[in-house]
Amino acid sequence: MTVGLEHYLVVGAILFGIGLFLTMSKRNAIGILMGIELMLNAVNLTLVTFSRFADSPRPIDGQVFAVFVITVAAAEAAVALALAVSIYRHRDTIDVDRIDLLKW
């Protein structure tokens, strides 16, 4: 029994699918944000997997990309949560079905 590139890629695909489902199905903005974090983690897992298994002259580059994705994910989480708290102060809800100021 051996574990190879495809195994990790399938785990990443499943994780991405679960994150996508969370993003599309949850009503709470924080739940949607958790789905986005899961999707970013799935992409990171795929990048590190290719860094380990792909035939490349500089295999560390995949991990450098993963570092950048982690950085951007942290910035995105801080701004998105600040937005959620700010919307809650003004509208008393973070239910994305009820935040319909722009709906005609």
Binding site: M1, V3, G4, L5, E6, H7, Y8, L9, V10, V11, G12, A13, I14, L15, G17, I18, G19, L20, M24, S25, K26, R27, N28, I30, G31, L33, M34, E37, L38, N41, N44, L45, V48, S51, R52, F53, A54, D55, S56, P57, P59, I60, Q63, V64, A66, V67, F68, I70, A73, A74, A75, A77, V79, L81, A82, A84, V85, Y88, R89, I94
Partner: protein, 163 residues
Amino acid sequence: MNDTGVVIAFWALSAITVASALMVAAVRNLVYAVLFLVLSLMGVAGLYITLSADFIAMAQILIYVGAIAVLLLFAIMLTPRAGRNNAESPFWAPGLVVAGLVAATISMVAVSTDWHQGDQGQFTSTAQLLGEALLDPFVLPFEIASVVLVVAMIGAIVLIRED
């Protein structure tokens, strides 16, 4: 990678990661959802270790399990009347179909493609290599990332300030 320990670690960590990610979608209480998300992210950190990416695994635990989980919990505590409910919107069924199709498509492509595989990625230690890569070929994105972090920090403070 046919070492028995690595194979067992891969299957156990994958099961933990996927099962707790499913629990994030299943539980009703948002606080429990965050705790299951932490478990899932720790499973991903373990998978990084089996891929010989030690620095990324430590960064994952520090940033996701340490910082982002605390940030999510704070956001839930600061939105008390709306925060605890993790219910689905009425359109969860089409979302499930689309997400399942996306995951199945990516999996099938990943399995059926003939990847060019090599063995250069088997590092003993990655911290020095990562530091050299960040400060030599990737120095411009590295500086831009620091600017992005400062802008995000200032933006979060401005958004959340009471006035």
